[in-house]
Symmetry: C2
DNA sequence: ATACATTCAGAAAACCTTTTCGGCGAGTTT
DNA sequence: AAACTCGCCGAAAAGGTTTTCTGAATGTAT
């Protein structure tokens, strides 16, 4: 009999069972198990043995009911599909797991109604706090004032500056990327980005322009080439730029997909990377960066860290230390073969 | 005042509050809210109004404690990193969300110790059931007989045939892929796969061989070309195969990454796809398939469906209807530009 | 007017744990 | 021997909900 349909008791062991088996009261059993004093060493041992024998696990519901804290949090994501939520979620899950907190996962799939529904369900389960994970860095409407527990917004900050938000520093990322290209000796740098409706795209462009200006330079073509976040756009943009500005020697791409397209186009145009031009991508998406030819340098937003910090802020808020405002975490450049000093 | 630090009561409304406001007993309030009879229509209305005013949400902990059912399940994944767990997880979350069940997410990161720890935590929270999601189709050791709630294994089946497992039909998938190539009129079909240590790789090879045999054919080179799941291997394998078997006209690839490599190599060798050869990938990973040139036909394992069905089976088991055994769900071919009848 | 059925509201128990407080017995002091 | 102190255990309450059962009030039949 390997499964639970057979003889095993359908009911999990309770403290009463343990106490009875150990021959003590439930009060004593509780104290023994929770390491309180007021209990003789020998008695404690008896209780612990009994608990072991019954594989007793204290009922977290009862405990939560009593203490007013459940040790659970809600993780509300707007789309699991996209690749940005997942790392944030992993970071948060990681941080909570270490703190004996369990995580409720809800996917609202970008639907406000569903989101409200999930919030209600989570509150009814008496979560101690909430993390709301978005898929873009554009600010989003807050959940509403009705929520009686602390809320932290991750990646997508809240529109309300009084809320707690953790996100990635897009402007800084743009600066970092360009500075990296500059440090490779590149001077004719083009910026191929995605949909200009994304705040992320605008921020990076701002940072890139700032870094160039600080070096007394400006973008090739005096503009950011906005388009879509796809390989196809990367290919098209690269061809166009090379034709119009044959002296281009650096590409800052808004995503790794775009960068893959740029790399492909450059190869087909007979331009060597990184010999003739350096290319840096964005997102540091392993499957794209390490399989590229050459392997792609990319900006990593440290999304797991965003998730971890969000978890920490939520912890603090639950303990009474609220720190309102938007916290922008720095990104980092992961260097691979596609960027190198001019040879 | 937009946040929860200010005036709002720190305590959520309770049934007692509602009852007091409505001027009835908590028993009556409970019955009114839960739609039981034994309550005059007019009274019910008063109670519901009061509940609304206080934005009352019944304490799920108390309810769970009382009824012995919490309406929660645990979703135990071995790695969130990999791209196979996520869709399964989404499917399950979807199915549960619709059934007013909340999901605890735990990532064991492939570590058995951490897994045990999470199982204990979940049992202590009195989940009604457990779904264990793996990242490979190789059977995995079961959780152990100690678990007093139903368990369903998803994607990675349990080694114990008495457990409930839902996975994808690898053999069938291999057959489907080859049949699709055959239906395009291809006769010289090569199979480029990944790490032969994966059961998935073996199963698909088995299915592919069977389908060819049924057509009186055999694989190009009379073997599956095993390697790694990477683009690099796809490129290398394609070059080798074209050299040794110039008449090859179909490639069944073990992953979309491999397929991308194959496509790249074929283009560089001057072979037109799908003119000279059809190429089919595996996993139907959007970012790879739709950005490929030409867009890549691929086998989709319907992983969301795997997750949904797992959730349904778990539901049934919780309600007492256990259905032991491994259930292999069919895959499907998603046709794009890279496969077409010989022109 | 009496016996009875019917409708609706409330009291109380149960779920399981934690914590406070009272009490009992043993050992110590004078 | 009396008065203490100290260490250890158990009774009981609290937390919020659901459900059963009792009881009160009203309406109906005789």
């Amino acid at each position: 009999m390997t499964n639970q349909t057979s003889g095993t008791p359908p009911r999990a062991a309770t403290l009463t069972d343990v106490a009875r088996l150990a021959g003590v009261s439930i009060a004593t059993a509780s104290k023994a198990i929770n390491g309180r004093d007021q209990v003789k060493a020998e008695t404690r041992l008896r209780v612990l043995e009994a608990a072991e024998r019954l594989s007793f696990a204290p009922n977290a519901l009862a405990r939560g009911l009593l203490k007013g804290r459940t040790g659970t949090v809600g993780l509300l994501t707007s789309d699991l599909e996209g690749r940005f939520s997942i790392p944030v979620l992993m970071g948060a899950e990681d941080a909570f797991g270490a703190g004996r907190v369990s995580v409720f996962l809800c996917d609202a799939r970008g639907d406000a109604i569903r989101e409200q529904h999930h919030v209600r369900a989570l509150l009814s389960r008496r979560v101690d706090g909430l993390i709301v994970v978005g898929s873009r860095t554009d600010p989003r409407p807050p959940l509403g004032a009705e929520v009686p527990v602390p809320v932290v917004y991750a990646y997508a900050p809240s529109e309300d500056p009084e809320d707690m938000s953790i996100t990635a520093d897009g402007v800084g990322a743009g600066r970092l990327a360009v500075e990296h290209l500059l440090s490779c000796g590149r001077r004719k740098i083009a910026h191929v980005s995605g949909d200009p409706a994304y705040k992320a795209a605008q921020d990076r462009a701002t940072g890139a322009a700032a870094a160039l200006e600080a070096a007394g330079l400006s973008l090739v073509g005096n503009q950011t080439y906005f388009g879509s976040w796809s390989e196809g756009w990367g290919r098209g943009a690269a061809r166009m730029i090379v034709e119009q500005h044959p002296d281009v020697d650096g590409f800052f791409c808004g995503s790794d997909q775009i960068a893959r397209g740029v790399l492909d186009a450059l190869r087909e145009l007979g331009r060597d990377v990184p010999g003739d031009a350096s290319v840096i991508g964005f997102d540091n998406w392993e499957v794209l960066t390490t399989n590229a030819r050459p392997q792609l340098t990319s900006v990593d937003m440290n999304l797991e860290r965003v998730g971890r910090i969000a978890a920490q802020r939520l912890f603090a808020a639950i303990d009474g230390t609220r720190r309102p405002g938007i916290e922008e975490l720095p990104c980092r450049v992961v260097t691979r073969e596609s960027t190198a000093p001019i040879s």
